[in-house]
């Protein structure tokens, strides 16, 4: 999934990505990110802390939304800003869909940029993680 700046339009959808994380996925993320918070791998601790069980690290989903933006920006654009909010707990095994749209496009002699809105949606239709990205060309 790549794009050519001139062909991009405001409101354009960014390809959807469907996900369901396994315990193994969370172990891989822990190794990649250094996030060893036990609520992401130890069910007993998560329950003791009042959570329903192991929860997916929000930042894993945030980083995936960032990657979605980076891939959309290829080959000539570059992710310059990413703001992520973690809105709702995501239990392990929950099905998620990553979505995004082009919210605005600036094309002036001084700068070419895109603003993207991205989010993860759970099976209830709630946005669990939301993000705003700026792509510079």
């Amino acid at each position: 999934m790549t794009s050519v700046f001139e062909n991009i339009t405001e409101g354009q959808e960014i390809a959807c990505q469907m996900l369901a994380f396994s315990s193994r996925d969370l172990v891989i993320w822990a190794g990649a990110s250094g996030d060893y918070n036990p609520i992401h791998y130890d069910k007993d601790i998560a329950l003791k802390k009042g959570l329903g069980g192991v929860v997916v690290p929000g930042q894993l989903v945030g980083a995936m939304l960032g990657s979605l933006a980076s891939r959309f920006a290829c080959p000539s654009g570059r992710l310059a800003k990413l703001s992520v909010s973690y809105k709702k707990m995501m239990p392990l095994g929950e099905n998620l869909v990553l979505k995004g749209i082009v919210s605005s496009k600036a094309d002036t002699p001084e700068s070419k940029s895109l603003s993207l809105k991205l989010w993860a949606e759970d099976t209830a239709g709630d946005k669990t993680v939301t993000a705003a990205a700026v792509i510079l060309y």
């Binding site: 990649a32 980083a63 800003k81 990413l82 992520v84």
Partner: protein, 140 residues
């Protein structure tokens, strides 16, 4: 990983607290692990890391520093400003500081909102990325 731990009392008493600078290399293996974790194709990142990898730099250090057995740490938000590419093989320094700490009572007891900033610089002192991480601590 360093073993420095800060209690909430320590954090309250030290506004602007700085963690020890973290020197690291943007190794190919680090980039591969990140790409694998987020489902990205490593072939797209032969010479530089995906910009969103900067979200992870210093995150483990921050989490270790504030984690204690009797608290729960949740993640509120992340802000990334990517100024220059993180080149593979490049040495960087991550400097983490506590920008703010505010507290309020909530359903799960006292909630503490800690806003940390990570500045990622190269060995010439040029800023490559700035990240802000909001950690929420419940004393339960």
């Amino acid at each position: 990983m360093q073993d420095i731990k800060y209690t909430l009392e320590d954090l309250r008493a030290n506004p602007g607290l700085r963690l020890p600078p973290l020197k690291l290399v943007i190794e190919r293996g680090m980039v591969e692990r990140f790409c694998r974790a987020v489902g990205d194709d490593m072939n797209n990142w032969q010479t530089e890391a995906p910009p969103s990898l900067a979200l992870t730099l210093g995150f483990g250090q921050m989490l270790e520093a504030i984690s204690a057995d009797n608290i729960t740490v949740l993640h509120g938000s992340s802000e990334l400003e990517s100024l220059k590419p993180l080149e593979i093989g490049q040495e960087v320094v991550v400097e983490t500081s506590l920008l703010s700490l505010r507290e309020r009572p909530g359903k799960m007891g006292l909630s503490s909102f800690l806003n940390f900033e990570m500045q990622v610089s190269n060995n010439k002192g040029e800023l490559l990325a700035r990240v802000c991480q909001l950690a929420i601590i419940y004393s339960a």
